[in-house]
Symmetry: C2
Subunit: 296 residues, 2 copies
Amino acid sequence: MRSFEIKLKEIGKIIEKALDNYLPKSNEYPSKIHEAMRYSTFNGGKRIRPILTIKAAELFDLPGEKVLPTACGIEMIHTYSLIHDDLPVMDNDDFRRGKPTCHKVFGDAIAMLAGDALLTLAFRTIAKNAQIEGISLKAVIEVIDRISLASGSLGMIGGQTIDILSQGIEIDEDTLFYMDSHKTGCLIRAALWSGARLAEAPASALDKLDKLGEKIGLIFQIVDDLLDVHGDEKKLGKPVGSDIKNKKNTFLSIFGYEKSKKLVKVLSDESKEIASEFKNSRFFMQFIDFLVERQY
Amino acid sequence: MRSFEIKLKEIGKIIEKALDNYLPKSNEYPSKIHEAMRYSTFNGGKRIRPILTIKAAELFDLPGEKVLPTACGIEMIHTYSLIHDDLPVMDNDDFRRGKPTCHKVFGDAIAMLAGDALLTLAFRTIAKNAQIEGISLKAVIEVIDRISLASGSLGMIGGQTIDILSQGIEIDEDTLFYMDSHKTGCLIRAALWSGARLAEAPASALDKLDKLGEKIGLIFQIVDDLLDVHGDEKKLGKPVGSDIKNKKNTFLSIFGYEKSKKLVKVLSDESKEIASEFKNSRFFMQFIDFLVERQY
């Protein structure tokens, strides 16, 4: 596992170099907004979504660097969603990955604008994928459509809407699955799909990858829910118990610890079965284990 | 002037029909977010930006309906910016166009998410322009790039950042021009540019149209500043004096009434001179007069 985490960090560094390139410099006018955008982008994230985009492209023999604009655009969308989620009107969280959240440093208004600006910049960055040799314009247009759908009101924002509306109210299992598959799963699915689509993967493979993304997304969210109560604050970089404080519905609150753990095991077996159908599935096998065992 | 306003309303209706088509229905799950998105989209806006996109396309012999997806995407970006602007963390405004603002009806969290969702949907909608016959994929990619640049931290959000940071502080004339040309001008320029680019207008014409957009944007903002103090609350649909309440720097506060009026006259003459160079400039001539004389 250690050597796999080192591998993830290495890909993460390539992504961070590209992000540094796509984001306006800190001293570019008006500097305050660019400082805020960079503060939240470079704060030790795991870069899971862009890594999946790169690895999905490589699965279909397209070098990972050819999808870097799209991978970075997806990471910008993820970062904006965290900034807005942390705001006082949403979860009101003061810490993320061991550092004060964006609005604690820059104020609520600039934090909101920094989130807006990252979301806006994301689509420009994805569009830059059209300039890379060997990438079809049609694929880029489809990827923009897919990522927008996955992160909008019928995807990620749809999940966040249910999250907000159901605080303090107990929801049923279907609503929990909707909420979590949308809040986290949709963007993870789109990250995988986009890498493969840019690599001109056949439709049947895209469907298979989408199913893998659905299961990976759920594993990610269930483990997140478990870590929020049973995790180590130092490793997580934020106080545990935020979900309880915000009266959130989670896998833990609805299914309990044992049943949630079992669900993770079932999903991980199913994910590995799907992944095994691809010709070079080693990375994905290790990645699924990493998601299940992660402490942060 | 009356008949021109009727013409604007007619084009506005075509845009609203298209917006209705692109936005998820109110009863689509999760309905609360779609109600909020629709509440703010259909609230009697003048549809100035999408009308400019359509008219810019027609200037280069492309039927206006061929750029409707892009025109609607731009209007979604404008709408999201108003929702976020009205939030308590920004301008804290309770009324817009005679109705309570989005957060007054749906709460701050859902209003923020509705803004996020409209911004996200905008790029999917613009990407749909690639499906329309006769439109080149390359033009659509360039339009996405341009609209993202115009509405991001180096464009509209850059202007809003200065607006927020300079509340209660007196700024110099250069900063005022930066703030207003970015807050309002950038998206208006992009609206014109995008319509013409989709119509495959030559580079020299795109540059000319961009200069026209710059001046139109400034006229729009100066008149806005004047109306905020000297306007009629009933016609405006919101209380006057919001800028003074929020200690905003405006053309009125920095140049005074007479000098601001003179600036509008100079800009309107210059705009008409640029517009007259196009072969069929009648609409733009009338539009400039409308902007100068508008009461709402």
